[in-house]
């Protein structure tokens, strides 16, 4: 059953990658990158469940943090303002 979970999440990742490659405007790509980050957090948790290794959850936490910071930076870049405002 866990193989089916992996395949479903891989399909999700490829749909996000399709939008990143295809997306007509820059905000489309930013949304897709954000969603890809969240899906990968779930993927790491699932790998941690499958292998009974603890540190995959640490990877998931760090990935969630970095994905959030990256998304905020891209959104600020789209808005065309600096970080001070």
């Amino acid at each position: 059953m866990i193989t089916l979970f992996y395949i479903s999440l891989l399909v999700c990742c490829f749909l996000c990658l399709y939008r990143i490659g295809r997306g007509p405007t820059a905000p489309d790509r930013t949304v897709a990158i954000d969603i890809l980050g969240i899906v990968i957090v779930g993927f790491c948790a699932l790998i941690g469940l499958d292998t009974q290794k603890d540190f995959y959850l640490n990877i998931a936490l760090a990935w969630a943090l970095l994905s959030f910071i990256g998304t905020i930076a891209l959104a600020k870049f789209l808005e065309g303002r600096s970080f001070d405002e």
Binding site: G42, L57, A75
Partner: protein, 109 residues
């Protein structure tokens, strides 16, 4: 018992993830894609993490999964709001069949 509930939560979460990603591909403009995919994928991943926390036997793994779920619950709407504001400020047009544009109404006042 706890295992069964956990696996059911994981299945529901992955279904929500798939629906969100299909919405990301199928919807017509940035704002529709944002609202479809962000809400669905946030709920789906939180359900997945709660399911992992229920299935996994060890305490620290469950605690980390719950912390991760709370973190995503806080940050994902924030990021979506920032992207929506950034997209509007960078001049992306709404889909031609969209009916309401509150940002433009606010600017006119």
């Amino acid at each position: 018992m706890s295992d069964t509930i956990g696996y059911i939560l994981i299945i529901i979460g992955i279904l929500f993830d798939i629906f969100g990603c299909i919405g990301l591909v199928r919807f017509p403009d940035v704002y529709n894609r944002l609202q479809a995919s962000t809400k669905c994928v946030t709920l789906g991943t939180i359900l997945l993490l709660v399911g992992v926390a229920m299935v996994s036997a060890s305490g620290p793994t469950s605690a980390k999964a719950i912390i991760c779920a709370v973190f995503i619950l806080i940050t994902s709407p924030t990021a979506a709001h920032a992207i929506a504001k950034g997209a509007y400020a960078s001049g992306v047009k709404l889909w031609e069949q969209s009916v309401v544009d509150k940002y433009a109404e606010q600017k006119e006042k």
